[in-house]
């Protein structure tokens, strides 16, 4: 088949058209509660065209909600990176540390955010009104930490012996060995971990907001479900997907800068 110059544009648009058609047909036939694409757009127009408007606590422009979510994700993610990277280094460097904590990590890693959140809320119960925020932060941090921890550990173990030999011949101090050799050699792995962690952090925020009812895309989605405004569920899903996609692209760009180090 002849390849068109505009393939990159035409094919995704075609894909979109297929999905829209399937959606329209579904809402017209078997899924009668599913709002049609057109109805979804009409009902979402205000939220999209005035993305930063604030009409009430739970009635705000969609980008304003997104912004709230992003701020919380940034905080939880920063915590995950700050805690996860050193743990990864310890796992990679110390056999004893790895033997001690590796089984624990393997057990904690698959625990769902939905399970962590109540624990987070309980942990910060004495902070009163802020318990929701801290609980959400705790959940984001603990769920998104693992890829950073594990990739860093793998990276540290994979540092070529040649580089370590250079450090040994030069008799580098422990600190210099870490900063001049181990960290630069591990950076590509660390950034892979950081990217995966960010993806998880974004997954978790939605769940955390749904459960705590915080203002944000996830909170908005849950509230609109309860208010039977199903159009806004679809709007939220699209926004969540787009934001996640953009975040991943940005991290990939950052990651590729370190990849060939």
């Amino acid at each position: 088949m002849k390849r068109l110059k505009l393939d990159w544009l035409i094919l995704p648009l075609f894909g979109l058209a297929v999905i829209l058609a399937a959606w329209a047909i579904s809402s017209a036939t078997w899924a009668s509660n599913l709002p049609s694409p057109l109805k979804t757009w009409e009902s979402s127009r205000d939220y999209v065209l005035q993305p930063f408007a604030k009409r009430g606590e739970m009635d705000q422009g969609i980008l304003r909600f997104t912004w709230y979510s992003l701020v919380l994700v940034a905080q939880g993610y920063a915590l995950a990176v700050l805690v996860g990277t050193p743990i990864g280094f310890l796992l990679g460097l110390s056999r004893t540390f790895a033997r001690t904590f590796d089984p624990l990590i393997q057990i904690l890693r698959p625990v769902s955010p939905l399970a962590w959140l109540p624990l987070g809320l309980v942990l910060f119960l004495n902070t009163g009104k802020e318990a929701g925020t801290y609980g959400a932060l705790f959940t984001i941090a603990i769920c998104s930490m693992w890829p950073t921890v594990l990739n860093t550990a793998v990276g540290v173990r994979a540092v070529p012996q040649d580089y370590l030999n250079v450090g040994r011949v030069l008799k580098l101090s422990r600190w210099k060995m870490l900063t001049r050799i181990l960290i630069p050699a591990t950076l590509p792995y660390m950034f892979t971990g950081f990217r995966l962690s960010l993806g998880i952090a974004w997954l978790v925020i939605v769940a955390a907001e749904m459960l705590t009812g915080r203002p944000g895309v996830g909170g908005f989605l849950w509230q609109e479900y309860n208010s039977l405004i199903y159009e806004h569920i679809i709007l939220s899903i699209i926004v969540i997907g787009l934001v996640g996609f953009v975040l991943d692209r940005l991290m990939s760009l950052l990651e590729s800068r370190f990849k060939t180090a």
């Binding site: 793998v154 040649d162 580089y163 580098l172 995966l196």
Partner: protein, 298 residues
């Protein structure tokens, strides 16, 4: 008292010993070349002297002190250059200089680094990263880094193997100059008998492993400075070359084999543990593993 002394040194990597019962003494200021087939244990011998490996039995002594760890008094040019890929040419050498001369002023250190970059003709490439350099250029950076340490003893593992004839000749002259003016002790590993004859006081062939031992050393009595062109017609040079070559061939005849090593590629991308979107990497099937096959024949 010998400057460097290896006594009854054996070393293996779990299997049969790679080196067996090595005895070697070097006087201060001596230039020794070690020649041997690929895989005979030359790099292993060098890392024992460098202190990067400890012998299974026997001792390595430098200045009458047992070698237990590497240090900047022994400058190593690694066979695979071992440049740090995230540092530029300048930074790679500067890191070594920083450690070797902690008491120098920053300006003095900078000058020192520049001097050695100029020595290997890399001034135009001083701010390039190793991956932007050709193999030969990398090798020169590695040589400059070792020389800049101003070590008592230089351990050179095939330091010129990737260079063109011209650069090679220049650096050979440079190594000889540094050796003679700074009174260094040099251990040069090479696969080039002519290079060994040009530079060394003594040539030691390494018998082929496993269980390699040092062969009969050949003293090179050629007068210095040695002139490359004139040497070619020198009867003593021809005699020595025939001697070393026949020694090596003698060892080779006992061995005819295929070395199979798993090819490991440098700069492998990190494994994506959770593999998003892209295909998860699966273990290689046997026929997909790239193997390097070197047939050693005589």
């Amino acid at each position: 008292m010998a400057f460097l002394e290896l006594r009854n040194v054996s070393k293996g990597y779990g299997g049969p010993p790679v080196l067996e019962n090595i005895n070697l003494t070097l006087e201060r200021g001596e230039f020794v070349a070690i020649v041997g087939y690929s895989g005979s244990g030359k790099t292993t011998l060098l890392s024992l002297i460098a202190g990067l490996q400890r012998p299974d039995t026997g001792t390595v002594r430098l200045n009458d002190l047992e070698v237990t760890a590497p240090g900047p008094d022994r400058g190593v040019v690694f066979q695979n250059y071992s440049l740090l890929p995230w540092l530029t040419v300048y930074e790679n050498i500067a890191l070594a200089v920083e450690e070797a001369f902690p008491n120098h002023s920053p300006a003095a250190r900078r000058q020192h680094v520049e001097k050695y970059i100029a020595l290997v003709n890399l001034s135009p490439a001083r701010d390039k990263l190793p991956r932007q350099l050709s193999g030969g250029m990398r090798q020169r950076v590695s040589v400059a880094r070792a020389l800049a340490l101003d070590p008592q003893i230089l351990l050179l593992d095939e330091p010129l193997s990737a260079l063109d004839a011209l650069t090679r000749a220049t650096l050979q002259d440079e190594i000889e100059r540094i050796w003679s003016t700074d009174q260094k002790t040099v251990v040069l590993i090479t696969n080039d008998v002519d290079e060994a004859l040009l530079l060394a006081d003594r040539i030691i062939p390494l018998t082929t492993g496993p269980g390699a031992a040092l062969g009969e050393p050949v003293s090179v009595g050629l007068a210095r400075p040695r002139d490359r062109k004139a040497l070619n017609h020198d009867p003593e040079f021809k005699r020595l070359r025939a001697l070393v070559t026949s020694q090596l061939l003698g060892y080779g005849a006992r061995r005819r084999c295929t070395v199979r090593t798993k090819l490991t590629l440098p700069d492998i991308l990190p494994e994506d543990l959770d593999a998003p979107r892209t295909n998860r990497r699966r273990p290689l099937r046997p026929h997909e593993i790239k193997r390097e096959e070197i047939t050693v024949s005589t």
